[in-house]
Symmetry: C2
């Protein structure tokens, strides 16, 4: 073994990051130690601080260091719209790339009975309270287009409609720039079924 034990431990520890294999972990370790010790120390401190301080937003359940996340705390958001997503990353993506300016609700997963993830684990009692609180006119179901995501959306749609609130699902079809030849059959079938009048 060419590296000292502590460097090997650093390489091993870096592999807890998603998408980091042994090669990249080694590259990261050497990079931090050879060139970037200040940044490395800063990274270590921020990780500790974040792990200690970051909890859940009381209102939307996303990751947040305050009781309310910046979106739930903002007075400028449209509180009549509620968008349900699976993860904080989905929430960040929708907020960054779309014109949506309503509120969010983060499930932190999807219904998956086999893994023991039911309505309670996704905070659906809290979701029910949000609906019961009144004022919401539309719930956008923005769960993934996977089997579990669809099942979760169906379940949520039932809950929403029982309160006579409009439930919508994000559109499915061919992605932008997608060449039909390379789009999978299921997506293509869905795109044909859900066709709309041409502009």
């Amino acid at each position: 073994m060419a590296s000292s034990p502590l460097i090997s431990r650093l390489v091993e520890a870096l592999r807890c990051l998603p998408g980091v294999g042994p090669k990249s972990a080694q590259r990261m370790a050497f990079h931090l130690l050879e060139r970037n010790r200040e940044a490395a120390l800063d990274l270590a401190r921020v990780i500790e601080e974040a792990v200690t301080a970051v909890g859940r937003c009381e209102s939307c359940r996303t990751l947040s260091e305050h009781a309310l996340c910046p979106i739930c705390a903002s007075p400028r958001r449209d509180s009549r719209m509620l968008c349900v997503v699976e993860t904080p990353a989905d929430m960040a993506a929708i907020d960054a790339s779309t014109g949506y300016r309503g509120m969010f609700f983060v499930l932190m997963g999807h219904l998956s009975p086999l893994d023991g993830i039911g309505p309670a684990e996704l905070g659906l009692d809290q979701f029910e309270q949000r609906l019961a609180g009144g004022g919401i006119t539309e719930v956008i179901l923005a769960t993934s287009s996977t089997v579990e995501g669809e099942a979760t959306a169906h379940y949520l749609a039932e809950m929403v409609r029982e309160r006579s609130i409009r439930a919508t699902r994000i559109a499915q079809g061919i992605p932008m720039g997608g060449e039909l030849e390379y789009v999978d059959g299921g997506t293509l079938a869905r795109a044909i079924t859900a066709r709309q009048d041409a502009l």
Copy 2:
């Protein structure tokens, strides 16, 4: 902005890692906070420990938390062979993939006068002492095949030969599995010039 300030700081701090852009940094931050807080704390601790404890091996200059790195401390290595490399990663790669069982010397860079990196910065006085210490019969120059790497190898070869020690350079040619059609002209020219009797 969808994320709380502390999460944004974590994302920013993760970007000090090589090859990590804004997207991957965000993915890493959410992954650590949603699923892997134990591992995240462990990572923070190991980074701090490594940054504090890891210095240089007194003998070969590689990164090491002890005065001598595991290779220099090993009694089983052949001390008559010395392999000069640019980085600890190069040393690790040669040790892991080849049958080489001699000693190493790590330059931590290459000669680059424009950047103010001369013989002193690469520890060549220490290298001179290693040569003067006697017992070395061959020095393998395993610097990169770049302009700076070649210049460094030339410089080192002079030093080595002045002491009547054999200086060798790692072979250059087409990489294994390389199709000639896709190999660059310079490499191909070198491979033809350095041709050897077929086995």
